[in-house]
Assembly symmetry: C2
Homo-oligomer: 260 residues x 2
């Protein structure tokens, strides 16, 4: 089942997506809710970011080829993570499907995409074992962890390198039924396939992360965990359109424009 968060006539709601029909509900899909009886055509509503997370988690480095290729670009030895230490991103940076990523005017040319699987939490959870870890998940969506590599490396934190406004496209919807083992991540730039990898070919899988995280922290409904990316991106330019497809789940598309 697919769930969208959308705005129409100045009001933001959740709805289930049945083909191209949006069936509005009261509340959030992971909480108490009921159909309002209102339906809309998908084309007639504005899609919003599918959730504003209470806490925005990100695995960061979690794929071997990404680590090797990034190290090669920098002329250093690759360093693989030894354990599932989760990181963070910031809500100010979130934008929806089809909205523009705005590159700050003083950013360097090193603007990269990172196509990622996003886990959406549906139940409050602490002290989950790997065996039980998937029980707290509501569904999945798609993220693009846009990065300005010069700032990412030169600043003390990832604040503008990863979290400048518009740097975190997420959407278009949350899908509760996906086949993670069969899923491929495909990234297209201006319609041409640029990267493809097995989505689940991670260093630390979802149960490993959730077990490690919930040993020390409580996950809450609406929290998201971005699972990292493989491979590397070309430097993106003004006007480039990036599509991140997770097969069976959907396509997240955003145009990149440089601020003037």
């Amino acid at each position: 089942m697919r769930w969208v968060r959308f705005t129409t006539q100045g009001r933001t709601s959740y709805g289930s997506l049945d083909g191209t029909t949006v069936r509005e509900i009261s509340g959030a899909p992971w909480g108490t809710h009921e159909p309002t009886g209102k339906t809309y055509a998908l084309n007639d509503v504005t899609l919003d970011v599918p959730v504003i997370p209470p806490t925005f988690y990100a695995a960061g480095i979690n794929y071997a080829a990404h680590i090797r290729e990034m190290a090669e670009k920098r002329g250093v030895q690759p360093v693989f993570p030894e354990k599932a230490d989760i990181g963070y991103r910031a809500n100010n940076a979130l934008i929806a499907h089809d909205r523009d990523v705005v590159i700050p005017k003083d950013a360097t040319e090193k603007i990269n995409y990172e196509g990622e699987l996003v886990v959406v939490i549906g139940k409050q959870a602490k002290h989950l074992s790997k065996a039980d870890a998937m029980s707290c998940i509501f569904g999945y969506t798609i993220g693009n962890d846009v990065s300005e590599r010069t700032w990412q490396r030169g600043d003390r934190t990832f604040w503008r390198g990863k979290n400048a406004d518009t740097f975190k496209p997420m959407g278009p919807w949350i899908d509760t039924d996906v086949n993670l083992d069969a899923m491929q991540t495909i990234v297209r730039v201006n319609g041409r396939e640029d990267l493809r990898f097995k989505t689940n070919d991670v260093i630390f899988d979802i149960p490993t992360y959730i077990e490690a995280m919930t040993r020390y922290l409580t996950l809450y409904p609406g929290d998201v965990i971005w699972m990292g990316t493989d491979g590397t991106s070309p430097d993106l330019r003004h006007g480039d359109v990036v599509e991140v497809e997770l097969t069976g789940l959907g396509v997240l598309r955003n145009r990149f424009v440089r601020a003037t």
Copy 2:
């Protein structure tokens, strides 16, 4: 004026604090709101964290003595930040005044307090100059940036070293009228003064941070910026009670207990 967020009879609201009388309002103090007419005695309500921020910012290192003393403890040269690169903390870790900080059972002995001034944003803001920076601030509260130093240094991120559940006490209220230039930060452990410094004796002041941040990101009402701490903490033990006082603003008190 002081504002509290409180729960009574299972309902959470904001209210203004007039002596020890809480006057409930509808909505949030920085948004549209009106008095509900209900009043409570401060002792009869449960104080909550004064705001759940959309984004939880933290300056991290922002005082010279803290940097020098932390470097000395580690036997390394102090490194002072060259610019106002903001960092982040996580909402899961927030607890209110008078709630217990629970030290995870596998944490080392190196549990430290960090008493901090917290800026609470009241207006959406981007591209503010230093001269205009203070215009987006609603008020101020107190934070204790509890840290497990072994994890802080050994992990790839600050996830459990800084953001384990209960590691971010904040409160007890938001004060809109404070004298930052006269303010002192005083930390007491079990009633005995352990640390005192001028709150505003920072490396990068509030306008410098807000100008730098809003060049790349939008601040939203309810966002918080924790301004960092000076000095160093002793290693805290089971049963220790830590009070962070910001003179003229209030006292944030929390007991530390070790999970069994």
